[in-house]
């Protein structure tokens, strides 16, 4: 931590004073500007605009958020909200971050239900879907660059892909077997 005097999640006694309402507003702004990549906008708002976090604090929180289940940036905002304004702050941050996108996406769903069967809409959706797949696969390729050039990580990636994507076993079984195995090996430092 860059500032060991301040812990990650305990409400701060020093540092900027931030109200739950301010957290709600900032998280709303982050999420509503976040077309394609929440992380970029979250860093811009929390580190550059509001200066609630230092660069190092943001990276630390994001790393932690990636380890935990659930969306990374949601985990970051929960920790930031709690740190500045306790439970109310955490709740305000989550409401800001998720509330608006829920309404927008359901609005899109309503339009889809009403007009989705029209042939021109069908054609547009087919094209959009094909692009969305390309974007997803591109992010896999980007992530793959962080894997070490050893056979074991690639074996685990392959097993996860075949188990869930090809054989179509339930994710719970595949993760239940692979995750403890992979973490144990990494713990023993064999990879």
């Amino acid at each position: 931590m860059a500032t060991p005097s301040r812990s990650d999640t305990v409400p701060a006694s020093d540092g900027p004073h931030v109200s739950a309402w301010a957290l709600f507003l900032t998280c709303s702004r982050i999420t509503l500007s976040a077309f394609g990549g929440l992380q970029f906008w979250a860093r811009r708002a929390l580190v550059e605009r509001q200066r609630w976090l230092t660069e190092q604090e943001f990276v630390d929180l994001l790393t932690l958020g990636q380890l935990l289940p659930g969306p990374n940036v949601l985990n970051v905002t929960v920790m930031v909200g709690y740190r500045f304004a306790g439970w109310a702050g955490a709740a305000a941050a989550v409401a800001g971050l998720l509330g608006w996108p829920c309404l927008v996406v359901i609005g899109l769903g309503m339009l889809h239900q009403r007009y989705g069967a029209l042939p021109c809409v069908q054609h547009a959706l087919t094209g959009m879907s094909a692009v969305a797949v390309g974007l997803l696969l591109a992010s896999v390729i980007k992530m793959a660059t962080v894997l070490p050039r050893q056979w074991r990580p690639w074996l685990f990636a392959g097993l996860a892909f075949v188990g869930v994507g090809v054989v179509r076993w339930p994710l719970l079984w595949v993760m239940g077997v692979l995750a403890p195995w992979a973490i144990t090996l990494a713990w023993k430092g064999k990879d």
Partner: protein, 175 residues
């Protein structure tokens, strides 16, 4: 949807929320399996369309989960798939945040990350694979997918423009 099915959806969403290490896209094959193959609540094509729609919406990438819930069972379904994400995982986040503040260099955290990264990657690839088999019916679809992937890697363009271009390509009858 009747009440037992909705309850099952809530339970299943809780499982998903805790399995979503590395983000919601890793869940896509399992959600597809559950919603399309096991329960037949929507067709594979509808599933892919809902995913594409959610990509256009702002916010975190779990929004497709909300939209699938809504498609399957209206507002109750949206709540059933979204709320399990919030309370339990956020509580876990705060708990681990506390521990992390006390032991920032814990070796277990490193081991977990190193161990899980390859699995996350494999699952993301499975997501792309699942969608691709649904969406791309012939070489033109594959070509558009390939082109979108290459462009987003090689150019600084906002992905939203690529999705819009995909819509136009579809309207023009190219895919």
């Amino acid at each position: 949807m009747d009440r037992p099915a909705l309850g099952a959806l809530v339970l299943q969403s809780l499982v998903w929320a805790f399995l979503a290490i590395g983000g919601a896209p890793t869940l896509l094959p399992d959600i597809h399996r559950y919603v399309v193959e096991v329960h037949h609540w929507m067709t594979s094509t509808q599933f892919a369309e809902v995913y594409a729609l959610a990509q256009v919406a702002p916010g975190p990438n779990i929004m497709y989960v909300t939209l699938i819930g809504w498609q399957v069972a209206g507002w109750a379904g949206a709540a059933a798939t979204t709320l399990p994400w919030l309370v339990p995982t956020s509580t876990l986040t705060l708990l681990v945040g506390h521990l992390h503040a006390r032991h920032p260099q814990a070796a277990l955290g490193h081991a977990i990350r190193r161990g899980l990264t390859p699995i996350t990657l494999g699952l993301m690839f499975a997501s792309g694979w699942t969608l691709m088999r649904t969406v791309d019916h012939d070489w033109r679809g594959f070509l558009l997918t390939l082109l979108a992937g290459v462009l987003v890697l090689r150019t600084p363009w906002n992905p939203l423009w690529l999705i819009a271009a995909g819509a136009l390509a579809g309207l023009a009858g190219l895919v």
